[in-house]
């Protein structure tokens, strides 16, 4: 077996030197590999009952009546509630977004007056078993006065459209405009203008383990315990306190092992709040585990946007200005923090990695009678790069330039840093041109173009797609995602036996936090990984935390644990100095020993002294070895400035991606022949984990473009309701991506930039460009992100190309053997 470049670079290494930077296999694995993972559905509480949720079967309607009587009499049923009953014992949720133009909105844990998408929760039945709860849920009789469904975002904004919220007088939930530079002058000075409409389709992150919650209220203590598969357990605690009225001091949220999240579990689901509210009403714990139908129709969808974009260019390929209008379909907005947030992120990155100084964007977030749109790995960023990278290719074609060349002529220059983008983002990044040349080298761009020419002469449709991105990591989304974001907490405790407990406010969903945080702590405290234990996801263990999203965990939790560990190391050096009768400054820590002038003390002896031998602790130091650190680089904006500019992220990661595809115009199938990605997430803590994130994100990018598409009919009925309708990549449908790292350290603690999302932000653009490039000889223009075979076939047909079934025979002759 020959190793690819990525494999060689990530060959595991467990010997010598610092832990950081090494491909160490994960400490999480052994438990998960042997069936020892404990996911939400594995949580068992004595006396626990099971919930089934009754969901709307109509896309838009007024609830006339809900009859729970038959369900309440069904075998095993112990309780049932509808929305009006629970609205009297709970507070409504709200989007809480501090944006002046956003419509006011509150909603309850169950629908009360209207339903606005198929799958919206309207009632809940609690029974002894899940199957009896589901049987009884079918007996709940809900009568609706059906209303006309609104399923298209552009049509939703037209005059005369039926309204989801009559009180708003329109379906425009949020409109937002931003202008930088003199856009009109840029267009007036241009040699030409390219105008396109690019449509981006609806997909779902689809963690294999769906959402769920399990809650228990202890009336004797007033304490509420909630288990939830949630990426932000502390933030969920805050929301649960809002909704239930129980103080945060009396709520514990535990996020157990999570079977993926991908942003879908970043929200505070109505159902998570519902289960907590119900638990306050009944004398037993209640569990709800989302099934796959529920996950597909009533959890969190993503991406759907229409971009009308114009770029003004000079004949030398330089882009002078850009105008964009975005209509984002956000479905039902009743999802904390709503689909407006990723759409706002899209608007901030539309100029991509290019030095375009005149820019305007107009955003409209339209509500429709479809499942709420929300977070999915990439969070609005893939859409921005599909658009700008598509436009770069179209410009190259218009001017007869190579797509690589038109990019070279527009890249953000290497100086100055930070480069302040048209929306105020402060790019602290490495070189975009050098990263791109690295990609062309890794891809073998010249040879790929020659091979493409040869393939075209044989009548084959081979295409090459390129893309370049900058990615907001460790964001503070205060103004676009409500109250949460910004700082992170972590505590590090050295126990009397020298073992270390680390607690972080982030929450791994598979990203290997226990491993990479241990690597960082191990380097600071000169300890092996076996001495370090990392815990996340239990609000009782740490005052607060912001969870895991926005590629923030290595940067924010990493920064916090490094600082906490250093404080402990310095304190232990002072204790060791006292014990060795030496100067603190002369005491060094390495390989588990404190050393000074030939004398040495084991780490564990100092740890023990700090707790159990107070006479060895210098009088100016407190006993014990525990530090809690709040880390925030304080370099992000909480609100836009007067020009509407804001810096959303603590640091920015970058990547360039390229793919080579072959399209079969007869079937519409797209085969990926090669995929390459150059990645800069600053200092890499564990290449094995980072490369795994890139490969996994590539799979989701391939799925999103070539296989996956959530669809509804005109009445708002979902057509993708099982994994037989919604196809995700399987074994054999994903290429192996070849990876090269550039490590431009950030200025933050540790030098990290975020990792985990680059693959899904850069590769959709590269894939769309590659398919377009493949089909260019027959006049196909790709202006959409969904390139499932049926769509590719439609594009081929619309281009007027008729597939000659005998073409291979004419080319190669009949080969009958």
């Amino acid at each position: 077996m020959t190793l690819t470049e990525a494999e060689q670079e990530t060959a595991t290494d467990q010997t010598g030197g610092p832990l950081t930077g090494r491909s160490i296999p994960r400490v999480e694995d052994a438990r998960l590999l042997t069936g020892g993972g404990r996911f939400l559905a594995d949580v068992q509480i004595p006396e626990m009952k099971h919930a089934a949720i009754v969901r709307s079967r109509v896309a838009h309607g007024r609830i006339r009546n809900i009859d729970l009587a038959a369900a309440l009499e069904a075998p095993g049923v112990v309780a049932a509630f509808d929305g009006r009953m629970l609205a009297t014992v709970s507070r409504p949720l709200s989007h809480l977004l501090p944006i002046p133009t956003i419509k006011p909105l509150e909603w309850h844990v169950l629908a009360t007056e209207k339903v606005r998408f198929v799958g919206e929760p309207v009632a809940i039945v609690i029974a002894e078993s899940r199957s009896s709860a589901e049987d009884a849920a079918e007996l709940v009789d809900v009568e609706y006065d059906e209303l006309t469904a609104v399923t298209d975002a552009v049509a939703a904004l037209a005059d005369g459209s039926p309204l989801l919220y009559e009180e708003w007088d329109s379906n425009d939930f949020l409109s937002h405009e931003h202008v930088t530079g003199d856009v009109d002058a840029a267009f007036a000075a241009a040699d030409g203008v390219l105008s396109e409409r690019i449509t981006q389709h609806r997909v779902i992150g689809l963690p294999l383990e769906g959402h769920g919650a399990c809650a228990q209220f202890d009336a004797s203590t007033g304490k509420l315990l909630v288990y939830a598969s949630n990426q932000q357990p502390h933030n969920l605690r805050t929301v649960l306190s809002d909704v239930t009225g129980v103080s945060e001091a009396r709520i514990t949220v535990i996020a157990p092992d999570m079977g993926g999240g991908f942003g879908n579990k970043q929200h505070f689901m109505r159902e998570e709040c519902l289960i907590a509210v119900v638990a306050l009403q009944v004398p037993f714990p209640v569990s709800w585990i989302q099934d796959r139908y529920e996950s597909l129709v009533s959890s969190v969808h993503s991406r759907e946007q229409v971009h009308d974009v114009e770029i003004a260019y000079r004949s030398n390929g330089r882009v002078l200005g850009m105008r964009t209008k975005i209509v984002a379909d956000i479905g039902s907005p009743e999802l904390y923090f709503t689909g407006a947030s990723p759409a706002l992120v899209t608007t901030s990155l539309l100029t991509g990695t290019y030095d375009i100084r005149a820019f305007s964007v107009e955003l409209h977030c339209a509500v429709t009678n479809k499942c709420p749109i929300g977070a999915y790995r990439g969070f609005g960023q893939p859409q921005a790069f599909v658009t700008i990278e598509r436009m770069m290719d179209l410009l190259a074609e218009t001017l007869g330039l190579d797509p690589a060349e038109v990019r070279r002529r527009n890249f953000i220059p290497d100086e100055p840093r930070p480069y302040v983008s048209v929306t105020g983002a402060r790019y602290d990044t490495g070189s975009f041109p050098a990263q791109f040349e690295d990609l062309l080298d890794l891809l073998g761009y010249g040879e790929s173009r020659s091979a493409q020419e040869a393939a075209r002469r044989e009548g084959r449709f081979v295409g090459i797609g390129l893309a370049s991105i900058v990615e907001a990591t460790a964001p503070n989304l205060h103004s676009v995602a409500g109250r949460f974001g910004g700082f992170e907490l972590a505590s590090v405790t050295v126990q009397p036996d020298g073992h270390v407990n680390v607690v972080a406010g982030t929450k791994s969903q598979g990203q290997g936090h226990a491993t990479f945080l241990s690597q960082l702590v191990g380097d600071e405290l000169a300890l092996p990984l076996e001495m370090i234990d990392v815990q996340e996801g239990d609000t009782a263990l740490l005052a607060y935390g912001m969870g895991t999203w926005g590629s923030r965990s290595a940067v924010m939790a990493g920064g916090a644990v490094i600082r906490a560990s250093r404080k402990l190391r310095d304190k232990m050096r002072a204790i060791a100095a006292n014990m060795l009768q030496a100067d603190t400054a002369s005491v060094e820590l390495s390989e588990g020993m404190f050393r000074s002038a030939g004398a040495e003390l084991p780490f564990v002896a100092v740890a023990n002294a700090a707790y159990l031998h107070p006479f060895l602790v210098p009088p100016d130091l407190e006993f014990g070895l525990t530090e809690t650190v709040v880390y925030d680089p304080r370099n992000t904006s909480y609100f836009p400035d007067e020009q509407g500019a804001m810096n959303v992220a603590a640091t920015y990661a970058t990547a360039a991606g390229g793919v080579v595809v072959e399209v079969d115009p007869a079937t519409g199938a797209v085969a990926i022949l090669d995929a390459a990605l150059v990645h800069d997430c600053g200092r890499v803590i564990n290449p094995l984990i980072v490369d795994g994130q890139i490969q996994g994100a590539l799979a989701q990018a391939v799925g999103a473009i070539l296989l996956e598409e959530i669809t509804y009919d005109h009445d708002g009925q979902p057509q993708t309701v099982s994994l037989l309708d919604y196809l995700v990549p399987a074994f054999g449908s994903v290429p192996r991506v070849r990876i090269r790292h550039r490590e431009t350290p950030s200025e933050l603690e540790g030098g990290f930039r975020g990792a985990g999302e680059a693959g899904i932000i850069v590769m959709p653009a590269a894939l769309v460009n590659a398919v377009d490039d493949a089909l260019r000889p027959i006049g196909v223009r790709v202006r959409q992100t969904s390139l499932r075979p049926k769509h590719v076939r439609r594009l081929v047909r619309e281009a007027g190309f008729r597939v000659d079934p005998l073409a291979p025979v004419r080319l190669h002759g009949l080969n009958i053997s």
């Binding site: 077996m1 296999p25 590999l33 294999l208 383990e209 079977g259 993926g260 598979g510 799979a699 037989l724």
Partner: protein, 182 residues
Amino acid sequence: MDLRMRVNDKAVHLAVEPRDSLLEVLRDRLSLRGAHAACEQGACGACTVLVDGRAAQSCLLFAVQAEGSEVRTIESVGTPGSLHPLQEAMHRHHALQCGFCTPGIVMAALDLLESTELFESGQPLDRETIEAAMSGNLCRCTGYHPIVDAIEEVASGRIQSDGRSSTAAAAAGSEHLAEVEG
């Protein structure tokens, strides 16, 4: 209904509802929670166990269909302190991230690696064969290649150690199992 089967080498006798799936009985009645419910439609393979030595999606089987069968679950394969060679290879290759699909992946791959038909056919266990055999299992995290790498490595190790016969390797695997169960 009365159900008698052997699960992880232990005789099991219990009363079940006709509609109980094998997955529900394993998880809720026998507390073997390593097999997971993720689609309950036979589309994802997270619930995969071995029934009479072959990979089966336990969400699609009624429990009573396992009457008289030998069922093996992830709980019988390796321990955190003593991983099965396949689990060891998956660990080294970073072939799992969230770990939710992992028990199903391990069981499906064991079926493939222990399949005597395949070895007797003389077919090499190449990537395409592995991908075809594993196509009933979805993973949303890894992008699959690390899993195929791990399976390929275990398979090639067997071929190198004892030619094209799988017998010795399979026996070694069983010994390992016996050890951890004992």
